[in-house]
């Protein structure tokens, strides 16, 4: 199972070290701390907005997912605010680029 193969199917995975239990990000087969083997696990996709801006009519944000990893994604509806809870509603690879779409919770 690789991160990109699953991402293409719309599944967002995280890599976690079998030895030191650290979440390794960007996703990798090997822990960036102890260099032991990582396992892949499904992420719940829940996070909160750390920062955001807007291009034309599209809001984009840096979101911290599962209190550990940060990604940039599009906010698909509503007006964001700092600390707002979000969930990854769609993700994948399009034209060789990852994409992450998030919707607001609460």
């Amino acid at each position: 199972m690789s991160f990109e193969l699953e991402l293409k199917k719309g599944n967002f995975l995280m890599s976690e070290c079998d030895h030191c239990k650290k979440i390794v990000w960007p996703p990798s087969e090997w822990c960036n701390q102890c260099l032991c083997k990582n396992s892949w696990r499904k992420c719940n996709g829940k996070g909160k907005i750390i920062e955001f801006s807007k291009k034309e009519t599209t809001y984009f944000c840096v979101a911290e997912i599962e209190n550990s990893i940060k990604i940039i994604g599009e906010i698909i509806s509503g007006t964001p605010k700092i600390g707002q809870n979000v969930v990854i509603s769609d993700c994948g690879i399009c034209d060789d680029n990852y994409f992450f779409k998030m919707k607001m919770l609460d």
């Binding site: 807007k54 291009k55 990893i69 994604g73």
Partner: protein
């Protein structure tokens, strides 16, 4: 430890020219060779090329085109701070005794592949630098109650200063209204707040203390070097309103040179985007957090060219591999009292700040005469 000095330099005008990278490298190197007294090709022990261009073997090609047969020749790429990385590598070759005289030539084309870090997929569809710059701007403005007008002044100042830089792409003053009314790229970033990718070259000659006086009677010495890389991914930087790698690099450079921020008479700041200038000033200790913009205002309204006299990246243009070298040339000219209309009075100690990819990596140099 023997000192390393700057013994010569050359540049091309930064432009939108569709020139081959080899041609830009040749032109800037020729300008250095033509303007450096007593220098012949056989004096050069190493040739380093700083670029993000995909062409291969450029240092050997440049050496062949200029009839140099160096002991050491290779390219150096580190996105936007390739230039100062090459200078630090040259410094190390000289201090180690592997070389006495090193030529460093940086060049880039307007369509450089170094503008976007394709590897950083965690930015999703938002890989272009305007998106990290927007996040920085939003964060810095909110945390320190900085207005759009305040940030626009960085661009106004640097466009004004670049008018006196004959190598700058911009020779036109802009007003705060011009900046605020320029194309809105995002809610937090306007076109005139951005540096422009362009075609350009810059070359510098480093020499050991023993050799330096052969080529110049007005050498400038590299007395402090600091470098730090905290990550490659934008989303792994710890804060969007400060530059941690810059803070650590400056600390090292000040420590090595035994200088401190108040000793710096003139500096070149890596203003890839307007917000980067006050952030860098804060991070290097020239201002307390959030007060960098006050230094920008003070410099602008007192017509003091102390901050980025050549017009910074916003005014001069940003040919990635040449930028750090052009910044170092500017500080050299300032310390040699040869910066003409850009000259800062009585400049004795100068600083260069050059960084990459949303400040995930920074170089800071301290120069003295």
């Amino acid at each position: 430890m023997s000192r390393v000095g700057i013994a010569g330099f050359g540049q091309t005008k930064f432009s939108e020219d569709d020139s081959k990278i080899e041609s830009v490298l040749l032109k800037t190197t020729k300008n250095l060779l033509d303007s450096t007294s007593n220098l012949s090709q056989k004096d050069i022990d190493a040739v380093l090329v700083s670029t993000n261009n995909n062409s291969k073997y450029l240092s050997a090609i440049l050496s062949e085109m200029t009839s140099i047969q160096p002991k050491i020749s290779h390219s150096i790429e580190s996105l936007c701070n390739s230039g100062t990385n090459a200078i630090v590598a040259a410094y190390s070759y000289i201090v180690s005794g592997l070389a006495e005289v090193v030529l460093i030539s940086g060049a880039e084309r307007y369509d450089s592949p170094g503008q976007i870090l394709e590897w950083d997929n965690l930015r999703g569809e938002f890989k272009h630098p305007i998106f990290w710059a927007s996040i920085f701007s939003k964060s810095y403005k909110r945390k320190y109650s900085i207005s759009d007008e305040d940030l626009a002044l960085v661009s106004v100042k640097n466009h004004k200063q670049s008018i006196h830089n004959p190598f700058a792409i911009s020779q036109k003053a802009v007003s705060i209204d011009d900046v605020l009314n320029s194309k809105k790229l995002t809610e937090d970033l306007r076109l005139l707040e951005c540096s422009r990718p362009c075609t350009g070259g810059a070359s510098i000659l480093l020499a050991s203390e023993n050799s330096c006086n052969t080529f110049t009677d007005n050498p400038v010495w590299i007395t402090g070097i600091g470098q730090k890389t905290t990550s490659a991914s934008f989303t792994k930087i710890p804060s969007f309103d400060t530059m941690e790698s810059t803070r650590q690099a400056a600390h090292s450079a000040f420590q090595m040179s035994k200088q401190k921020p108040t000793d710096i008479d003139v500096m070149e700041i890596h203003d890839a985007f307007a917000v980067c200038e006050p952030m860098a000033l804060d991070s290097m200790g020239f201002s307390t957090s959030g007060k960098g913009i006050e230094l920008v205002k003070e410099a602008y309204f007192s017509e003091n060219y102390k901050i980025s006299p050549r017009g910074g990246l916003i005014g001069s243009g940003h040919p990635l591999g040449a930028t750090g070298i052009a910044q170092t040339i500017e500080i050299t000219q300032q310390l040699q009292s040869q910066a003409e209309k850009r000259q800062v009075d009585n400049a004795k100690v100068g600083l260069v700040h050059n960084m990459s990819a949303a400040s995930t990596s920074s170089t800071v140099l301290v120069l003295e005469k």
